[in-house]
């Protein structure tokens, strides 16, 4: 090839201008494609957003569809021009000439500066409007029976817990605080949740509600939302036994005759101590968790079952149920029973067995908070009406009217309420915990006394709660568990302790002392005396016994404050 011929300037000096027809067709294509993508997403053909579970979600989504439409137009405009250019202006084989020598076009450059500017101004205005509406303060915020209450959410490595500071007082004239590991609300309630920081930054995010706010140590933040349910479709309900879950709709199997035998000793103990226990057992979702594992094994042991029976719900059991769909007649409903976190059973039940409806969505932690960040989530529980919510609320208030004196029962109540973030890290079958970050607590009452020489079981349990890093179980990383109470081993500058009242501590130790591998609390190594019915022989002396050890730590706090 001759060097002289490698460049020869044969083309013109001006910018090639496409025909008007082409420009119109291309412009229409860009507009239609952009709007089309936005409409497809809006109508659910492109699955890009979860359900809209709040008023905020609807407005945010409308803004998103505008953004998506304009964004898609930009996308098709640029990619279209790019594709057109590389096809139309590709060099022919063996063409070694240069292109035309033009350097710009003032008019075009002004146009493509002004149009994007106008577009972003319009978007900014839309965003401000949506933002203002979504964050507007409502008069009816957090009203319960016409009175304002405070709702707190605490983010703590690695769990969420919620507090309702009620306007009620208990038998000792102390204000009643409902602790819960689920955030309860109802469709149409104006909710404001105050976010309590404890250790590191977390972020309170409900994807179904399009709301997110960081929980920041040293700062008080809050988040507002209003649950909604436009489709009026509820995914969850509770079913109450006795009831058969069957493999296909229309199968009618007579219920067995009820057996007079009491299922477990613990329930009896609870019933004798707390007068409200019966009401609790029939409706509280938490109460079902401990009763169900037996329920699930028992029928299988009795006799060879009818193959059409998937599962039998015991009399009085109350199980969370996910609704999958109805049959043609509407008399039967396809459901999944959530027997516990691990065990689920799918089948059919009669429609009239369904209880009140609700939805629940994940509350996720969106800000990196450590090794268990991925497991940190909770449920937001949206009742279908204010009445259903009040049912839950009043029952929780009732439960706390008279705090149990028995440390075992108190401890169970505290641990089940999710007041402390134990469940997401530890395994404890009796409460349905299935965490992976921390050691298992099953059978802890057998081992606690022999873990560290010189410490008895109660001392060991207290020490591991106060100073987890000093008593690591082999194979588990340091720095994961919050320090409850003063920790002398905490490095300089580290948060020295989290609040845990002595009463709570005594209750939790008491409950852990019943967690033997055999299931019989009499086998415990803590030195607590249990009767044959599984209840403490002497409640008062048990409290005094544990308190004596706990006081050692109390003195330490006082010395350090």
């Amino acid at each position: 090839m001759d060097i002289q011929n490698r460049n020869s300037n044969t083309t013109g000096e001006s910018m090639p201008i496409p025909s008007i027809g082409f420009m119109v067709i291309f412009g229409v294509f860009v507009l239609v494609a952009g709007i089309g993508v936005a409409l497809l997403a809006r109508n659910g053909v492109l699955p890009v957003l979860p359900v809209q579970a709040s008023e905020q979600a609807k407005r945010t989504d409308d803004l998103f569809y505008v953004l998506l439409g304009i964004g898609s137009m930009v996308f098709f405009l640029i990619q279209g021009l790019l594709l057109y250019s590389v096809v139309r202006f590709r060099a022919k084989p063996n063409d070694v000439s240069d292109g035309p020598n033009f350097h710009g076009n003032a008019l075009l450059e002004i146009v493509w500066t002004i149009i994007p500017t106008v577009v972003v101004i319009v978007l900014a205005v839309l965003s401000v409007v949506v933002w203002n509406t979504n964050n507007a303060v409502s008069e009816n915020e957090n009203l319960v029976d016409g009175q304002k209450i405070t709702i707190n959410a605490t983010g703590q490595r690695y769990a969420w817990s919620f507090e309702y500071l009620t306007n009620e007082t208990n038998i000792n004239s102390e204000p009643i605080v409902i602790n819960s590991k689920e955030l309860h609300t109802y469709v149409g309630q104006d909710v404001k949740v105050d976010l309590n920081p404890v250790d590191v930054i977390h972020s309170f995010w409900v994807p179904a509600m399009r709301i997110k706010q960081d929980v920041i140590p040293g700062r008080l933040t809050s988040i507002r939302f209003k649950p909604a349910n436009d489709s009026n479709y509820y995914e969850y309900t509770q079913v109450t036994g006795p009831l058969y879950l069957v493999s296909e709709p229309g199968v009618d199997i007579p219920l067995p005759t009820p057996e007079p035998e009491t299922p477990i000793a613990e329930a009896t103990a609870e019933a004798t101590t707390a007068p409200e226990a019966t009401a609790e057992a029939t409706a509280a979702p938490e109460a079902t968790a401990e009763a169900t594992p037996e329920a699930m094994t028992e029928p299988a042991a009795e006799e060879p079952q009818d193959e059409r029976i998937v599962f039998f719900v015991e009399d009085g059991d109350n199980i969370e149920t996910q609704i999958l769909g109805y049959d043609e007649s509407g008399a039967w409903v396809n459901v999944t029973l959530h027997i516990n976190d691990e065990v689920k059973r799918t089948g059919w039940i009669p429609t009239d067995a369904l209880g009140t409806f609700y939805n629940k969505y994940r509350i996720v932690c969106a800000e990196l908070c450590g090794g268990g960040h991925g497991e940190m989530f909770a449920w937001i529980h949206i009742h279908d009406s204010e009445e259903a919510f009040m049912g839950w609320y009043n029952q929780e208030v009732q439960k706390r009217f008279e705090p149990p004196k028995d440390p075992v029962i108190l401890g169970q109540q505290i641990l089940e309420s999710g007041k402390y973030p134990c469940a997401n890290c530890h395994v404890l079958d009796s409460l349905g915990w299935a965490g992976i970050t921390g050691p298992a607590l099953n059978g802890i009452a057998d081992r606690a006394g022999s873990r560290v020489s010189g410490l008895n079981a109660v001392e060991y349990l207290l020490a591991t709660i106060h100073e987890p890093n000093a008593y690591l179980v082999p194979g588990y990383a340091a720095g994961q568990m919050p320090h409850f109470g003063y920790d002398e081993t905490a490095p300089a500058g580290q948060i020295p302790y989290n609040q845990m009242s002595e009463a709570d501590l005594i209750g939790i130790i008491g409950y852990l002392c019943t967690q033997t591998a055999s299931g019989n609390p009499q086998d415990n190594t803590c030195g607590l005396q249990f009767g044959d019915d599984g209840a403490l022989v002497d409640v008062d002396s048990a409290n005094i016994f544990i308190k004596a050890f706990a006081d050692v730590y109390d003195d330490k706090y006082e010395a350090n404050e």
């Binding site: 090839m1 953004l67 964004g71 033009f102 710009g104 932690c365």
Partner: protein, 569 residues
């Protein structure tokens, strides 16, 4: 028009290809230093890429299975992010800048050659500090290292992380000062700022950002180190500190740092698009000015990274400034399209990667504007949507530009062409592997998957499997480039001085250039992008006659054929 007035054929290449041993040698030659930057950065790219593939391997299932525990997974993405940003993209562009800026200006070296070498030699110890954390409990608070997670928890690896970034920051500042002085003082006669190649403009804008912003990173890191080892409480609210202090200072550096990591790539793109479509750059001044506009507005948008933590009343102002920055970026985008328009596009590998940049970066730009909208940001902040967005900018933008630059300037640096067929295969696998890795992340994020998790809601598994498979293709595509470089170094076609027939000055010398770059002070062409005129053709022909063009007959071995007959001179 005669611009290079030496006897024809006199300048046979007298230079040898830089050897591997040169990469380990203390030298003040900006070309060797530039390549040292690039080789070191590429090694870190391979390390960071391996970490990325381990992340994707873990995410194939919704449970924790590959990594030992959640903390180990956190270290993985923390080091992946830090290595990719600070030990790959930043030093890689510093390498291109070092190599090209003096050449494009017709200078003999950088303004401060010794300082230049010193700035580079801070990088290896910084990299060692970063990776050494593996032996003492790796940093696990993400590349953003928000306190209190990074101050109250974690191991000594976090301290090493901060010290490593300190060194890298010093290196960046020294390099940037050097660039600014070189660009402002060492241009040849006749090259005003408005006749400077756009890569130099981009490097100038970048260096101004580095000098202004990096001291803030140094400040933040110093406070972090003091909190970790000095017993202070700058970020500990229990003792009167403030955790948002870190976020504000960190992002005051790190948002402009995004432009540090993409502006040089945009400069390279301007060169490649113009040269390979044989046409002047469209709207030269607008592209140059938009770099400066981005550099300035880039300092007013940092808090858009904090829409979920910032005081609510400050969120809207930062939303507006963030949206404004889309305008200069849009100007560049349209300028590049205008450059292609009417050109004679050559589909070389360098050009393909630049076109790939245009088509992928635009997606990152669109999602950037979406993210600026506070109500929508609430949904996608700290989710895979954000992961997708910044990979479209940092990979679809910066890395595609780097790949384009490698194919474009490899001939100048080594005297050999990279293999074009392998280059096209590399492009195809990278382009599609990239798209299918990162585009589905938008959906996963909007549907509710937070970032930085090893354990996720099982409903996202099918998306994640698709993403991981595409990521493995993307990872594999890198090996093709490595192989191509290995093979081409020894057996590649001889490049000659100016294989792309480009007008900027780095091509007006032999490949690789001699120790002092030019045997005689070069005379720049009146317009660095003035393709399509007879004057330009004459200028290019004069270069060819002076330095010879490679013989394209099948025999290989580097013989340069020199034009036999002068014409026109």
């Amino acid at each position: 028009m005669a611009t290079i007035s030496v006897p024809i054929g006199q300048r046979q290449p007298k230079t040898r290809m830089p050897a591997l041993a040169d990469m380990l040698r203390w030298t003040v030659d900006h070309k060797i230093i530039g390549m040292q930057y690039m080789v070191a950065a590429f090694v870190f790219f391979l390390i960071g890429g391996t970490l990325a593939l381990m992340i994707r391997w873990e995410l194939m299932t919704p449970t924790l299975d590959v990594m030992q525990d959640g903390t180990a997974y956190n270290s993985l993405f923390s080091i992946h992010g830090t290595v990719m940003l600070f030990l790959w993209i930043v030093p890689m562009f510093a390498g291109f800048g070092n190599y090209l800026v003096p050449l494009q200006l017709g200078a003999k070296d950088m303004a401060f050659p010794w300082l230049n070498a010193f700035a580079f030699w801070l990088i290896p110890p910084a990299g060692i500090f970063m990776l050494m954390g593996y032996f003492m409990g790796q940093a696990e608070a993400g590349w953003t290292s928000y306190p209190p997670l990074s101050t109250l928890f974690g191991n000594d690896g976090q301290t090493m992380w901060a010290m490593s970034l300190h060194l890298l920051g010093i290196s960046s500042i020294l390099g940037a000062i050097n660039f600014i002085v070189t660009i402002l003082n060492m241009r040849p006669e006749g090259m005003t700022l408005w006749k400077m190649p756009l890569f130099c403009w981009a490097t100038l804008a970048t260096s101004i950002i580095v000098v202004m912003a990096t001291p803030f990173l140094a400040g933040a890191l110093t406070l972090l180190l003091l909190d970790r080892v000095g017993g202070t409480s700058f970020f500990n609210p229990a003792n009167g500190g403030d955790v948002l202090l870190w976020q504000n200072i960190f992002w005051f550096y790190s948002h402009p740092a995004v432009y540090i990591m993409v502006l040089p790539g945009m400069g390279m793109l301007s060169e490649v698009l113009s040269i390979h479509s044989r046409k002047p750059i469209f709207g030269y001044r607008m592209i140059a000015l938009s770099s400066m506009a981005i550099a300035l507005i880039g300092f007013t948008v940092w808090a858009h990274h904090m829409f979920t933590s910032l005081q609510p009343e400050l969120r809207i102002p930062f939303m507006i400034s963030t949206m404004i920055i889309a305008v200069p970026t849009g100007i560049k985008m349209f300028g590049w399209l205008g450059t292609l328009w009417g050109g004679k596009i050559r589909f070389t590998s360098a050009m393909l990667f630049s076109l790939g940049f245009l088509s992928m970066f635009v997606i990152g730009g669109i999602t950037g504007v979406m993210l600026a909208n506070v109500p929508f940001d609430y949904q996608v902040h700290d989710t895979y949507f954000v992961v997708s967005h910044f990979h479209f900018v940092m990979f679809g933008g910066s890395v595609f530009a780097i790949y384009s630059g490698i194919y474009h300037w490899f001939p100048k640096m080594t005297g050999r062409m990279l293999d074009e067929r392998m280059g096209k295969l590399h492009f195809a696998l990278t382009y599609f592997g990239f798209f299918f890795t990162f585009f589905p992340m938008h959906m996963v994020g909007m549907l509710g998957m937070p970032r930085r998790v090893a354990v996720y809601d099982p409903q996202f598994q099918s998306w994640n499997v698709l993403i991981s498979l595409a990521a493995f293709v993307l990872g594999f595509s890198t090996l093709i480039l490595v192989y191509n470089i290995m093979v081409s170094l020894s057996r590649g076609r001889v490049a000659g001085a100016n294989p792309w027939r480009a007008l900027t000055l780095e091509w007006a010398t032999s490949s690789p250039p001699p120790a002092w770059n030019f045997d005689e002070d070069p005379v720049p062409f009146e317009d660095p992008y003035g393709y399509g005129t007879q004057a330009a053709t004459d200028y290019l022909n004069a270069i060819d006659r002076t330095f010879g063009v490679p013989d394209e007959t099948p025999e290989r071995g580097g013989a340069l054929r020199v034009a036999s007959a002068p014409s026109g001179d």
